[in-house]
């Protein structure tokens, strides 16, 4: 009945004389990445998702849509973002360290890539209202920004807990003309904001577009959002090759490829974006860094929530467990289905870091490079800092997915305004070391 079904059999990767299947190509069947993904949503939403799938494929193949988006990304969002080599920190850790500077995008994170894409698409589909969920507020701010730019109505659902810890972003969204509604059920964080956004969408699907903020949810979101973030990986690959020289593909030194690419993973959109630029090169190690208190791949088992089958933190009966992380943006018990797949086939590895390691990394990057990272992105830095011995002499790209301005107030609470308390991990009050605390899964 629409394109999504015929693509099951004759998609670009599925034809008999097609090139070998790409590791990060189109999903198969109904949004499947290996065993993961799918379309587990209320019946009311299925036609809208099929329509979205068809509209995205049509737009993505349309030169004029791509040109319009590229134009916005360049002239409005500030792309391409630089690839910055960290001289001091690199020397300290004994590696060549590069940061993909998504923190320098308009609105302060990678989120704008996806949001501009979806907002343009929604407009093209004749929708007048954007709905979004947000954790740290970065996706909400980006969506509110796009709505202002494109003259659309915008409603953002945000967990009540997150609204308190990211007050500044709540004000930014309102300043941009968006309505921010607290999600007051469950853990009152990101997962509950997604529930509320889905409930709203079930009621307003005729004129609303759900601008989902990560590579999660039902098909086509995991695929579509990754495609909108592919620009991160494509740029980084080209920038890296240009920087180190890519003259000899057979020589590791001269291949023009980094040894390791690292990104933090909550839902996993910034990781999917940067991984997509390197996944087809087997020599490049891909590392996703989850928060210890919300490690879906690390501690979860496959389950179905928010429209997708993916690794999920849940109890023995299938009740979803609450994630607990210092970073609101990674406070999510699930993960995008493509990451579950990349983990299962061994193409990417998923590690975790504790809140204390994140705090240290937040300070470390600030002091060695003059870059204050988002707490989310600090997870990737924390992993590199912890594992620097095994990385010695290698070249590493970290996706610095966002800047830390939004986190400064929270860090001031944790560390004290004089930073007297900061020497190293382990000396902070115990109630901030929450990473290991949430293993019981009991619900409030």
């Amino acid at each position: 009945m629409n394109g999504s079904e015929s693509r099951q059999d004759d998609g670009p990767e599925g034809g008999t004389n097609a090139e070998p299947r790409k590791i990060m190509g189109e999903p198969t069947g109904i949004g499947r990445f290996g065993d993961f993904g799918g379309l587990f949503v209320p019946e009311t939403l299925v036609p809208a998702l099929q329509e979205l799938d068809a509209a995205f494929h049509e737009a993505w193949a349309d030169r004029s849509f791509r040109d319009e988006l590229d134009d916005l990304l360049r002239e409005y969002a500030g792309r391409p973002s630089p690839l910055t080599e960290c001289q001091r920190l690199g020397e300290q850790l004994g590696i060549r360290l590069f940061l993909k500077r998504e923190d320098l995008n308009h609105t302060g994170s990678h989120k704008i890539n996806n949001v501009l894409g979806q907002a343009l698409l929604a407009k093209r589909m004749g929708k007048s209202r954007l709905l979004a969920e947000t954790g740290a507020g970065q996706h909400g701010v980006a969506t509110a920004t796009a709505a202002a730019l494109l003259d659309m109505e915008c409603l953002v659902y945000m967990g009540e807990v997150d609204m308190a810890r990211q007050e500044l972003n709540v004000f930014r969204m309102r300043l941009l003309g968006a309505e921010v509604t607290p999600a007051v059920s469950g853990s009152r964080t990101l997962k509950d904001a997604v529930n509320e956004a889905m409930r709203d969408w079930v009621s307003t699907v005729e004129y609303s577009h759900y601008c989902l903020g990560s590579v999660m949810g039902p098909h086509p979101y995991p695929y579509m959002v990754r495609e909108f973030h592919r620009v991160i990986g494509d740029e980084a690959a080209a920038q890296f090759a240009e920087r180190v020289g890519g003259s000899d593909a057979n020589c590791a030194e001269l291949s023009g490829l980094p040894d390791v690419v690292v990104a933090c993973v909550g839902g996993g959109s910034n990781a999917a974006g940067i991984f997509s630029g390197f996944a087809e090169h087997p020599s490049v190690e891909l590392i996703g860094v989850e928060p210890a208190g919300g490690a879906a791949i690390g501690n979860g088992v496959p389950g179905i929530v928010h429209g997708m089958l993916s690794y999920l933190k849940q109890d023995e009966f299938g009740q979803v467990q609450e994630a607990e992380s210092i970073s609101a943006g990674l406070d999510y018990p699930g993960v995008g289905p493509e990451h579950s797949h990349l983990s299962d086939i061994g193409r990417a590895r998923y590690e975790s870091v504790t809140d204390d390691e994140v705090i240290d990394a937040f300070v470390l990057l600030s002091r060695t490079e003059g870059i204050i990272p988002a707490l989310e992105s600090a997870h990737a830095i924390a992993w590199v800092a912890r594992e620097h011995e095994q990385l010695k002499g290698r070249s590493v790209i970290v996706n610095l997915s966002g800047r830390g301005d939004k986190d400064v107030a929270q860090m001031m609470d944790i560390m004290g305004s004089t930073l007297d308390g900061h020497t190293s991990a382990g000396e902070r009050p115990a109630d901030h070391s929450s990473a290991d605390a949430n293993t019981t899964g009991e619900r409030k």
């Binding site: 209320p42 019946e43 409930r199 079930v202 699907v205 929530v305 299938g318």
Partner: protein, 271 residues
């Protein structure tokens, strides 16, 4: 309540079928009333018995899930209460074994609880608890295959949802796959009470009726006996959840739910 006839745990309701029970009531000129009750609330089995005694044709038992995206505030709250009280799919199915009310029962729950249980294992657990059907609102046609195979194999009726957003081609495929009855979603939205019957309710009921002889029940947004009567000008019956659950929670009495069921049943009988 005395109507609760404790047996020594043998799926006493098994053998009943939603399609047969609803179908024969419809054939006799009646309209069907199916209340939703949240499983796992204190004394919830009493509520099932009260509903049966009040004249319901079947009962839908909710197995609470942590993230019920299809449910509004009342069912969310009752689900959370049940979860806080320690309810699990296992405890609810276990407690259901003791229910013997002479009308078919169906569970309403979400995909992950069933997936975690294992599709086949869950289907067989339903049968051994005397439950005839299952309603899984986040498993649409596209994903229903593996569950439907398990359910068909075990003899569990999988109720499918038909929504106003579907075109006739899709509705045709939905009613084709539906067992027991077609759960027709009366409006664009989640469960919860509404002041008046949505304009979409009769429209979608009429569209579905035109495509199938299976019982067509409208749910979501049917809150009062008057609304039930109105939608049953077209539909074969209604499913009512939030209004009844709210009554039970507000009064703290499962029997009070039965009294409200009686009001609906009386109104529908009067037409």
């Amino acid at each position: 309540m005395n109507a609760l006839n404790i047996t020594d745990g043998g799926g006493s309701s098994s053998g009943l079928s939603l399609s047969v029970a609803l179908g024969s009531h419809i054939d006799a000129g009646g309209k069907c009333f199916v209340p939703y009750l949240t499983g796992g609330l204190p004394g919830w089995q009493t509520g099932v018995a009260a509903a049966a005694e009040a004249g319901a044709q079947a009962v839908e038992i909710g197995i609470p899930f942590s993230d019920p995206v299809m449910d509004g505030p009342v069912i969310q709250a009752s689900s959370q209460m049940a979860l806080d009280g320690g309810a699990t799919p296992v405890s609810i199915l276990d407690e259901a074994r003791s229910i013997d009310v002479g009308i078919p029962l169906a569970v309403m729950t979400y995909a992950n609880l069933v997936y975690r249980f294992g599709y086949e294992r869950f289907a067989h657990a339903l049968v051994s608890s005397g439950i005839s059907g299952a309603i899984l609102p986040d498993i649409p046609l596209e994903e229903v295959g593996p569950w439907a195979d398990a359910a068909d194999g075990a003899g569990v009726e999988t109720v499918m949802l038909a929504a106003p957003t579907a075109d006739d081609d899709r509705l045709t495929r939905v009613v084709e796959r539906a067992r027991g009855f077609v759960y027709t979603v009366g409006l664009l939205g989640i469960t919860g009470e509404r002041e008046s019957l949505a304009a979409t309710a009769k429209v979608i009921a009429r569209r579905v009726k035109a495509l199938t002889d299976k019982p067509v029940l409208v749910g979501v947004g049917v809150s009062t006996p008057a609304q039930a009567v109105e939608v049953c000008e077209v539909a074969d019956g209604v499913v009512v959840g939030s209004a009844i659950v709210r009554r039970i929670i507000e009064t703290g009495s499962q029997e009070a739910g039965g009294e409200l069921v009686a009001e609906f049943v009386t109104a529908l009988a009067r037409g």
